[in-house]
Amino acid sequence: MNPTRSSVPWFSRVALILLGVLFLLPFFWMVSTSLKPLNETMKLPPQWLPSSPQWHNYPDAMQAMGPFWLYARNSLLLAFLNVVGTVFSSAFVAYGFSRLDWRGRDGCFFVLLATMMIPFPVVMVPIYGLFRALGWIGTFQPLWVPAFLAGAFNVFLLRQFFLSIPRDLSEAARIDGCSEFRIFWQIILPLAKPALLTVALFQFMATWNDFLGPLIFLARENQYTLALGLQALQGTISGTPWHHLMAASTLVLLPVLVLFFLTQRTFIRGIATTGLK
């Protein structure tokens, strides 16, 4: 940094601290509430910290949700299938859009970009009808099979990455008589690990956070994901046991936070590049 710009005005520091505190407050409030006894959640003016932390609120909240671990298993299973499906299919398709020259490629790619403008609520009615005709409503299939057909955004991300890999690499392999699939599998994929990891992380978050999909495609309670289980908890119980709701919300958030902190670098870089490419 050059010396003329290195002095940060005091109001910048104050603003950052204030905003930082404001952004952290909801997290603090969530955890603090989750550890209070019910009567302390309703005190006026509010009590910042529980008089003594009620750790049993967490097992109690899980109990209140019903089969918590079954929901967690369902969420994890769907996240796993979606990550595997998206990473491989999107990489495969991105290869076709970046490392091969064929007539109509750029036109197809333009169509792919355009499909990003079609949000799920616009197309969900016919898709529901389609899955219904296949007899898939009330099963997990609608929530993971489409992941194996590549996601436009992920294809776009991976294509940008593949384009940055030198062409000569593929040419050399072709001259050696390597099949296109082997070039993809043994040369390009290993080189693209950071990008694949980014896509995997994004997809995990997206599936874990998905609400509308499970809401319309799942029917029976034993198939619920954590998101649906938590919504059911919000809806069924009388009164408002905010301590339980906050404990359960924290539990649903926790895996996402852990994953983020484990992969922070990849994650932040992934987000940053999506806006710049």
């Binding site: 792919l112 616009v122 057909l149 710049l276």
Partner: protein, 305 residues
């Protein structure tokens, strides 16, 4: 086409075939089917029956549709500029040689990771009228204002007040604006330092440098983000749906087009009407995106093109 070209074409098509299948099944077919269903009486349970333009006539006379359309547009038009200003502001603050930059960036980013279900339940609690944290932070300020001016301002019961529910949702959204901060910060760090140095030698002040260097250099990123935010804001569903306990808020103040599509399709099994609504949403997205692109093209500054 030569033999080589044909072989390349086949290779290419093999590689993109998963996407082609997905495109046909989950984009093209649904769009075409939506047009057909929107002209029918269709409940999924039985075959669609052709109605002509009846759904669109109903839609035109349906005050709930207009309410949903209005809410959707107001939400987009208010929330997108607010979150854009906030996230650019935060990114500019962060793009200074400040101790703990990485920690601040993480703090601002974290809320955007919170799953919709946790986010909405948390903010239902934050925005609670008597006991919510938001009102407890606001009250001292209101008391001061009331004491000084003799007014009787009261903290709103956000989610139970039709005049404030939408603002509660906007506040919730502002908390989750962190992804944009990360993107803007990365954009700011690409701006060459020499530009600022040269401008400083010319005796410009910080605001002029922001206006004439930072904003133009950042404009492609802003453009991209705004476009993505429009698509995101217009399809908003999960957070307001959960905030209202699976409903649409007091006086339908949190009813959005996506919510109304959902209600018609899966509460009333009126898939034909839902399809007509879905096409309206689609047209709205295309329309607003085109407007953005049209105005964006003129304003966006591409430094190396």
């Amino acid at each position: 086409m030569t033999l080589g070209e044909r072989r390349n074409l086949i290779k290419g098509l093999v590689f993109v075939s998963p996407w082609i299948l997905g495109f046909l099944a989950f984009n093209l077919y649904p769009l075409i089917a939506s047009i057909w269903f929107s002209l029918c009486d269709y409940s999924v349970l039985s075959e669609p029956v052709f109605l002509g333009a009846q759904n669109y006539v109903d839609l035109w006379h349906d005050p709930v549709f207009w309410k949903a359309l209005r809410n959707t547009i107001i939400f987009a038009v208010v929330a997108i500029p607010l979150s854009t200003f906030l996230s650019i502001g935060l990114a500019v603050l962060l793009n200074q040689p400040i101790a703990g930059q990485g920690i601040y960036r993480t703090i601002f980013f974290l809320p955007s990771l919170v799953p919709a279900i946790s986010l909405a339940i948390l903010w239902q609690w934050m925005l609670n009228g008597p006991m919510g944290l938001v009102n407890n932070l606001i009250r001292p300020f209101l008391n001061i204002i009331n004491a000084v001016t003799g007014s009787h301002l009261q903290a709103p019961d956000w989610l139970n007040d039709p005049n404030f529910a939408l603002w509660g949702l906007i506040l919730t959204g502002l908390w989750g604006t962190g992804q944009a901060v990360v993107i803007y910060l990365a954009g700011l760090q690409e701006v060459p330092e020499e530009l600022y140095e040269a401008a400083e030698l010319d005796g410009t002040n910080a605001w002029q440098r922001f206006l004439h260097i930072t904003l133009p250099m950042l404009s492609p990123v802003i453009f991209f983000n705004v476009l993505m935010s429009i698509i995101g804001a217009l399809q908003t569903f999960a957070v307001p749906y959960i905030l209202t306990g699976g409903g649409d808020g007091p006086g339908r103040s949190l009813l959005f087009l996506a919510t109304y599509i959902y209600q018609n399709a899966f509460d009333y099994w009126n898939m034909g009407y839902a399809s007509a609504l879905a096409l309206c949403l689609f047209v709205l997205i295309i329309g607003l995106s085109l407007v953005t692109v049209h105005y964006g093209e003129k304003k966006v500054h591409y430094s190396d093109r």
